[in-house]
């Protein structure tokens, strides 16, 4: 992680654990009578959403407001973008207004990277989902939820997810959530298995650091967490499976399938859920489903990311110098932030 958070793959293990630990302290702010910290007073954050989003935008907005940042919401609908303005002009407009950070959701993969590396804008860029590429804060909040449930709230501090078996089921092809999660979970030491019909797996998935299976029933008993993904109908322009009913029968999670999971295993869903398709109402409403918890954890995790990127005079996590390669960067210690003197 540099000044920006573009991809979950950019995070080292120490970066990710630092973010999760910080999120754990941020979560406690939600229990206070005054749910606000003065940390980002006087900093301006723009939520630049070129694509529809409810929970991610609201979650970022809540996180920004809890840290006392000034928040500007910008959605492409009804804005200058619908009149034909380019990303560059939008960015330069925001730069002229003096924003400190841009949270961007864009339909095109790579738009946040372009924004961060183009020199159009000086602000920190946080990717809130770009095309079918990445959604790093979603992966972080999922990892946070897993660590809380599978390791423990206090026991998890400083820990990663080593040895945990995570199964991700559904539309991997169109899913930035799956890609971000595979990257981050691999960094955190978890074993990831993707389960989907062959048509919904991207080309090159065999190079990802995970297992791939077409059979959900044989994978469930070996899972500590099962993450169900929505089939993204809006991105589908071909027939990926014969009927929704068939998909649901083979890859949907119902009560009988949930019973095959180990006792302690949890069911996760990043939302929005399509009940009756990838998940039944029985599972969605059960104790083991963390979908609502994930929303609450999303605010804490995003507060942690905003604090670590914007809270000081420079980001808290490792700055790879331009000459270091990715390999050396991964092994380098991340803790450049000041701890209380030991």
């Amino acid at each position: 992680m540099q000044r920006h958070l573009i991809s979950a793959a950019d995070l080292t293990r120490d970066d990710a654990v630092l973010i999760l630990d910080t999120a754990e302290e941020m979560a406690r702010v939600a229990d206070r009578p005054i749910k606000k910290l003065p940390t980002l007073r006087g900093r301006t954050v723009v939520n630049l959403f070129f694509e529809d989003s409810t929970r991610t935008r609201i979650s970022f907005e809540a996180a920004e407001k809890r840290l006392s940042a000034d928040v500007i919401n910008f959605s492409a609908k009804g804005s200058s973008v619908s009149k034909g303005e380019s990303l560059k002009d939008t960015a330069q407009t925001l730069e002229a207004m003096g924003v400190d950070a841009v949270v961007i959701r864009h339909g095109a993969s790579g738009a946040p990277y372009r924004l961060a590396n183009s020199g159009w804008i000086d602000a920190a860029v946080i990717n809130a989902g770009d095309g079918t590429h990445q959604h790093p804060t979603q992966a972080l909040l999922d990892a946070f939820t897993m660590r809380r449930r599978l390791v423990g709230r206090d026991a998890g501090i400083g820990q990663d997810l080593a040895g945990k078996r995570i199964t991700i089921v559904g539309d991997i092809l169109h899913g930035r959530v799956a890609r971000s999660n595979v990257d981050l979970l691999h960094t955190l030491g978890a074993e990831v298995t993707l389960v989907a019909p062959p048509t919904l797996l991207p080309i090159g998935v065999e190079t990802w650091p995970c297992e791939v299976s077409y059979d959900l029933d044989s994978t469930l008993p070996k899972s500590d967490a099962v993450m169900m993904l929505r089939v993204q109908r809006e991105r589908m322009n071909a027939a990926f499976f014969p009927t929704e009913r068939e998909y649901s029968r083979r890859y949907g999670l119902d009560g009988d399938r949930m019973a095959k999971m180990p006792e302690h295993a949890i069911v996760m869903h990043p939302g929005p859920m399509v009940r009756g398709m990838e998940i039944t109402a029985e599972v969605a409403d059960s104790e083991r489903c963390t979908a609502i918890e994930q929303v609450a954890n999303g605010v804490s995790t995003r507060m942690a990311v905003l604090y670590l990127l914007l809270g000081g005079n420079e980001p808290a996590v490792a700055h790879p110098s331009p000459t270091t390669t990715l390999a050396t960067r991964r092994s380098a210690p991340a803790s450049e932030f000041r701890t209380e003197e030991k």
Binding site: T39, Y307, G312, N313, A316, R338, T339, E340
Partner: protein, 194 residues
């Protein structure tokens, strides 16, 4: 960190040793009971890292004196610091408010070293967001002077006149393996006042 610590220890002079610290805490506990007329509504809040251990030790001593349970918690002031923008963000520590809250209680903040007073200012701001105590008092193990804000301690373990070229380092068994307060010469430009 270890090398730095060793280097610091080699030319640092202990001003308080383990038994001194224990005696000082016993005295402060008695002073708190005396001033609070029984310490009925006292809540101890330690400021991480070492203030928390001192608060826990004070809590034990207060319980021995009053034979009542004394609530002890911690108050992390990182997010309220006035120098946040001058360094990379710090890792956060735990804020733990005892179950009954702070409203109407006598809150005693506990820290190891009182120096510029900026930490305590941040702690007062943090308290503001957590409740409305009846009163707030401050207990410190060492007051080394050089205040930059109009803040003073109600209970002081040891007044230690220092120069700005010196460092005061508190070590406690829970964190450092032994109890001592070291006075040494400053090596780096920063990091002395903790």
């Amino acid at each position: 960190m270890d090398k730095q610590q060793e280097a610091q220890q080699s030319d640092a002079r202990p001003v308080l040793e383990g038994p001194d610290i224990a005696r000082v805490l016993t005295r402060i506990a008695h002073e708190i009971v005396e001033r609070a007329k029984g310490a009925d509504d006292v809540v101890l809040l330690g400021i991480p890292t070492r203030g928390v251990f001192l608060a826990q030790r004070l809590g034990v001593k207060l319980e021995q004196i009053t034979e009542r349970k004394i609530p002890v918690g911690s108050l992390d002031i990182t997010m309220y610091r006035d120098d946040l923008r001058m360094h990379p963000p710090r890792a956060l520590a735990r804020t733990e408010i005892p179950g009954d809250g702070l409203d109407g209680r006598l809150v005693v903040l506990v820290d190891d070293v009182l120096f510029s007073g900026r930490t305590i200012r941040a702690a007062l701001d943090a308290l503001n967001d957590l409740g409305r105590p009846r009163a707030v008092q401050l207990a410190v193990l060492v007051d080394r002077g050089h205040r930059e804000l109009p803040i003073r301690a109600d209970y002081v373990g040891k007044n230690l006149p220092t120069s700005l070229r010196e460092t005061v380092k508190v070590q406690l068994a829970e964190e450092d393996g032994r109890d001592t307060v070291l006075l040494g010469a400053k090596r780096s430009a920063r990091g002395a006042q903790q």
